[in-house]
């Protein structure tokens, strides 16, 4: 972590704090309350913004005569994760996109189909290769998850608005 990273962190944190400060200012409440619902959110958001400003101020003060890439105001030691590669970034983005696809498919086609599709995709994203192995794991895995969570535990799987398998007893 170096000073540039500190400023990125400060900017992101200030943005979050500013957003919540604004949202807190919109809270409506009766004027006769002693300490209303607005106080603590505004205080908390204000502290977040204040700490972000402190990071920037400390970085400015400490950077006199020092190269920005040689020190950090808020970093200590080596970071936990190594720098990310493009391949890793694509893989991570695929996982999150896969999650949102899962959400969409769950509503559209129900639990069984969405689980099978996303499981197959994740197995491929994580580097499992022979198509037959992926297919067998997908079918077996989706079936087991459907049976355990939907049938045994009774978790509600609503009928999909696009494909409705409840008519076949698979919901």
């Amino acid at each position: 972590m170096r000073l540039k990273d500190d400023y990125i962190v400060a900017l992101a944190v200030a943005a979050v704090g500013g957003f919540f400060f604004y949202q807190a200012s919109l809270i409506e409440f009766a004027d006769d309350t002693l300490v209303g619902p607005r106080l603590v959110p505004m205080l908390t958001a204000g502290m977040i913004i204040g700490l972000a400003a402190l990071i920037v101020a400390a970085g400015h003060i400490m950077s006199n005569g020092r190269k920005a890439e040689t020190f950090s105001v808020i970093g200590e030691g080596e970071p936990e994760l190594a720098p990310v590669t493009k391949l890793a970034l694509r893989r991570m983005a695929s996982v999150i996109v896969g999650g949102f696809v899962y959400l969409f498919l769950f509503a559209a086609a129900g639990y069984l189909i969405s689980t099978a599709v996303v499981l197959a995709a994740l197995l491929v994203i994580f580097g499992n290769r022979p198509p037959l192995k992926v297919a067998l794991l997908t079918i077996g895995g989706a079936a087991v998850y459907f049976f355990v969570f939907i049938k045994l535990m009774g978790i509600h799987s609503p009928p999909g608005w696009l494909i409705d398998l409840t008519l076949l007893g698979l919901g």
Binding site: F29, P37, I55, L103
Partner: protein, 506 residues
Amino acid sequence: MDIIDGFTFLFSNPMALAFVAIGAFTGVVVGAIPGLTASAAIAMLLPVTFYLDPLSALAFLYVIGKSGRFGGSIAAILFNTPGTAASAATMQDGYPMTQQGKAGKALKTATVASVFGDAVGELILIFGAAAIAVYTASFGPPEYFAIYLMAFVVIGSVVGKSIIKGILSTLLGAMASLIGLDPITGDSRLTMDIYDLENGLSLVPLLIGMFVISEIMVQSEKLDDGELHVADTEGKSHDDHSFTWDEFKRCLALMIRSSGIGALIGMMPGLGSSVACFVAYGEEKRRSKTPEKWGTGIVEGIAAPESANNAVSGPSMIPLLTLGVPGSTIAAILIGVFLIHGIQVGPSIFETSRELVFGLFASGLVGIAMYGIIGYWGGPLVGKIIACFPPRLIYPFIFLTAFIAAYSARQSLFDVGIALVFGVVGYFFRRFDFSAAAFIIAFVLAKGAEEAYRQSLLLSDAGNAIYLERPVALAFFAVGLGVLILRTVTVMRHKKLVAATPEIDE
């Protein structure tokens, strides 16, 4: 004695006993999977407990937390990869022993040390918690606010590498908890006119996002084509796969000291097993007559960290039960379970639910025995089974489990979306060295802190000056400030030392 009543309560509930056994096994297996923590397992299994009675629910998750801390040592010893952060110190002597063909000895040492430390911690909890609760029962809203504020400052200051990031993590967690309806007036806050946010963010999807989905993202980032290779645990001689009585006697004093270190660290909010294991390892190495042997594969190098990291478990429940302040992430999750079953944590729990509390303590002791048996005779087998399932096969299924767990809490796809969003947040926390544990603990505590603060002001005609009239509250404020100052001084000294070192070399 109350603990005997606790055992009676436990043994009269076969389902609770069954879940203690399932929890012991689950924790060992989950802890042994590199990258997956007991907290992640508890987050995913939390919705299952909604359908259970309070004792079964609490015992299940509590024992997973205990056995998960031990399970991490299996991966550390066999795969040279810590299964959990708490077993990182165990790796230093555990894997060299495996390389010498003594994996069996290493695993048995880890099991005995874990059981020893956990039992010591549990006894401290059993006899300490009730005694402390008698004193804290007299606390009112001003004292509770002071305790919460102290917890925020202490957790933010000591957890992780950076004080500012720790405090920011705490503030961000508090901010997240304020979304929803105001607890006193019922006014809608920070909901951005999204109906699903009226009831606030649910703990389960937040946990799953911050601990499970973020971990899946990290694992997908680190992914290579490597498999997990488990070393041969058979050994050349009987001595290579057994922990002898002489070795036990040699390690006994060390395990007692390390258990004490772990118990003390466990009582302080925010520190946890990962700190305890390294403190104990470092301290015992310093005391040793042969420090040069540490790190080459000796039983002492396993016994010290394993006793310490497991001794954290019981005492970390003391601030939870006596003050309502969780001492660890797992304790923070257990608050959620208590509340779901309508049980208010804090000193009054010893009045209102005494049988349940001591039943939980009894579950802890039984769980320790169970994971000890599983680990002592089944540790190598668990390792071999896990090695058959490489991470690239395991993590897709963990993602599916996380998805359904996030959904099942409130049967809500919105919660799944929240889990995904906080998965990304949790990943960026890891990338920029913020603390997910501080975030979650603050999320759990913030509502209580706000209520206590506002109730204090309602009680007083003097406004914020009420805290000047309460010496106990002032004492807690002072503790929080003291820890912050001490930590700041330590960090500044360390920075000066690091900056000065190249000049010394020149």
